[in-house]
Symmetry: C2
Subunit: 478 residues, 2 copies
């Protein structure tokens, strides 16, 4: 007899969004807290999502000529301190290695919080001529930032990421690289994660420590809070000068190269949860789902059902889908709830009558729609339904984003709109830090970005009344 195993309930997102988020992280078996305070464990299902993200991004990076490398994880303090802004930005969050074996080190070593310094050090020893430029490097690794409060995926003392680091002969080439990688992130978020983004530039206050310009893809979660998706930085020749990275130019003179870096992290898994999840659990975009299709045999004790299910699984696997079959003796109700919790995009149900009639049922995770499917059409129908799910997810998220951008013409209005609706509040801005700080203080919002797609909402900064320089988005961010 089928065992009646209960799928544990999760908190409704309308009741407590933060708890709902944490529940999904745990119940979908993505992540586990470690014994080390502030550290997390990526469990197989969570890590498999990350692997799919990695594989696709890595392919995109390589398409545009980037190569992977591995730099040491420990950075001598003196090396880290060569660029003042960077170290000031990261020093409070650095974990320090002070002993190797039983000996105290002469100089303490930082666990990398980011690796600009190591790449610069490498280039300062290896770069010779403009013929070797550009150098387009990337690495996949973990970094440590000693955060005070942590949340799975969103803020963790150790997190996993890629960090791209490139140097170029000219400022223009480095700027073009910065924008190309921003666009790469925008493509990845929209076309792979099904998360629409607002690409834009960060204010000086919010930019990366030491960068000349930081660009971001900003996302909106289901609770209408903002999440910074990924960032791309232009450094000019600031680090080159600080780390004495030079090359012999076309004019036969020593020159400083121009530099970029760009990064994205396991935080993207948090973005996926909060963009697509619902009260039944995780909803995964088919392009990154570890299991795209789960086959559930109905009345599997009846003759031929398990064999029929196995045949469907084999065909779907053969066609290149990531597919599994659940032949356990748990009840059908439990299984459906379990794979909904895990966000599997499409479920295939096949019972004895279905198989007799030469059909099965496909069920979409997004809207529960049941699609009868003739067995001979299985592969084509599965491909079609996965595409529909991917598109539905993007459309829904896009609607959430677009319906929650509000225009304000005064600080008071901005504050009120945020309090009433949440979301992004767009205003003009004079560019002064004072106004940015005032918005934070009075309305609780940080600047999210100055979108690349600018609109003219007026002539003056609504905070100080001085002439406006740019249109800007504000929000409450993760």
């Amino acid at each position: 007899m089928a065992k009646e195993k209960k799928v544990e309930q999760i908190t409704d997102m309308e009741v407590d969004f933060a708890q709902w988020y944490t529940d999904i992280c745990r119940k979908a078996e993505l992540v586990e807290y470690a014994s080390v305070k502030g550290f997390t464990i990526l469990r197989p299902y969570g890590y498999a999502i990350w692997e799919n993200m990695q594989r696709i991004m890595d392919g995109m990076f390589k398409e545009t000529g980037h190569e992977n490398v591995a730099m040491p994880v420990l950075i001598p303090e003196s090396l880290l301190k060569k660029e003042g802004e960077l170290v000031n930005g990261f020093a409070p969050e650095v974990a320090w290695v002070t002993h190797g074996g039983s000996e105290k080190l002469e100089e303490r070593l930082a666990f990398r919080p980011t690796s600009e310094t190591m790449f610069c050090d490498f280039w300062s020893n290896n770069l010779q001529t403009y013929r070797e430029l550009p150098m387009l490097y990337n690495q996949w690794c973990s970094v440590i930032r000693w955060e005070k409060t942590t949340r799975p995926f969103l803020r963790s003392r150790e997190f996993w990421w890629q960090e791209g680091h490139t140097i170029h002969e000219t400022a223009e080439e480095a700027q073009a690289e910065t924008m190309q990688q921003l666009q790469c992130y925008a493509d990845f978020f929209e076309n792979v994660l099904a998360i629409p983004v607002v690409p834009g530039r960060k204010t000086d206050k919010e930019k990366f420590a030491g960068a000349e310009a930081t660009y971001t893809v900003e996302c909106m979660m289901k609770d209408r809070k903002a999440l910074q998706g990924a960032t791309s930085h232009y450094f000019g020749d600031k680090f080159s000068r600080a780390y004495n990275v030079t090359f012999t130019g076309r004019d036969n003179k020593l020159q400083y190269p121009f530099q970029t870096s760009w990064g994205s992290t396991t935080r993207m898994i948090g973005a996926v949860i909060m963009t697509h999840g619902d009260n039944n659990g995780l909803v995964l975009p088919p392009k990154i789902a570890p299991v795209q299709i789960i086959v559930l045999p109905i009345a599997q004790h009846k003759p031929g059902v398990l064999e029929g299910a196995a045949a469907l699984e084999a065909r779907l696997k053969q066609a290149g889908f990531r597919v599994k079959t659940d032949k356990s003796d748990n009840s059908m109700g439990w299984k459906c709830a379990q794979y909904e919790m895990k966000g599997v995009p499409v479920r295939v149900e096949c019972g004895p009558r279905d198989l007799e009639n030469g059909q099965c049922i496909l069920v979409r995770r997004t809207d529960g729609e049941k699609i009868p499917c003739k067995l001979e059409d299985l592969e084509a129908e599965a491909a079609k339904q996965l595409e529909i799910v991917q598109q539905q997810m993007f459309d829904k998220a896009k609607k959430n984003l677009e319906e929650n951008i509000y225009e304000a013409h005064s600080l008071e209005e901005a504050k009120q709109l945020q309090a009433e609706h949440g979301g992004f509040i767009k205003t003009m801005w004079c560019g002064d830090l004072a106004c940015e700080l005032k918005m934070k203080e009075e309305a609780g919002m940080s600047s999210r970005c100055m979108p690349l797609k600018q609109e003219r909402l007026g002539d003056v900064c609504p905070i100080c009344g001085k002439p406006a320089k740019t249109m800007i988005y504000w929000g409450i961010a993760y």
Copy 2:
């Protein structure tokens, strides 16, 4: 006019094997020393070799049901110390984090030297019932061991590796897993890296700290020294008991699971260099070569040559080969030497006359053999030549291994054989540590392994004269 750029010479291996090795590491652009003492940088070409190794191994692990996870990199000292043998084995080599940001930590944290403790900690919190067993995990990461002397790939304070960790309901299942993963490594070495191995069991002296049994695949380098290729460990329930990992068994009672771990590292790149390299540089097995085929246009200024080369590259890429074309204005001599240095398995030469005659020339890295190839046969001929190269490499390495295993019946004979020939010296052995230590002291050899394929060479231990328990291989190891 073609620039005459000189390929830097490397030391002959017959003159100074160690220098030859280091020269290849640097000149083939595999690795670079970092500013941090004892740490290395994996450059794009070296990392690309590692990526190919990773992709293939990862696929093999997944085929047998293993899943990847990510455990925290830092381990609390108290957690590390729960299993006495492990911590005694690794404590002298641990790097310690003592400060997070500006605060001194209450308890210092070890940069993982290996992660048995973290996996056990996870399981102690998460494992519940036998139904969840086995748990078959693996992770790709870097570890730190604070070695005193270091060499690229062979011994480095940070190195990159995979560590598999599994728990099982029964001892038999865990033992079977240990042997399965040993076999997996043997397959990978022989069929992918083209390195023949001697699979066997380590002595108690040489086994992994805390393991009940350690198995190894031992390789022989061109200088007839031994290199431990990869290891697979069986722990019994020792760690389960130390870390209180339990599950409810079929008998409804609490039980301790049985555990394994197995690992392989970037050291394998060192093994590839020293097994296959020659005085012209690196020789890479086609299965892991970042570039399998280099296309070199001859007299490329002549009309049609570059277009012809581009067409060949496109066809080879289309057929799934990793291929590049060198269209630089360096001389043909430089290019040939450069791609020999980098160990590219097959070179395709195409000049104006070749193309007119509808042919090109394939050149094997292994023996320099030139194979004329009709353009219409390009893909098939390339596949064939890559297979030949892979096989030639294995055969040559196998010959080196087999010709350098010597049988000894006395300590004196063993010592003399090693001094004269190097290689593996096989003897019988009583199993006592005293004899093992004596062999080290008198003949400078450590025990390599007790091969799975045992032979009976006699009845007594040649060192002490007591009854022999096993046949064993001795050697001088990296």
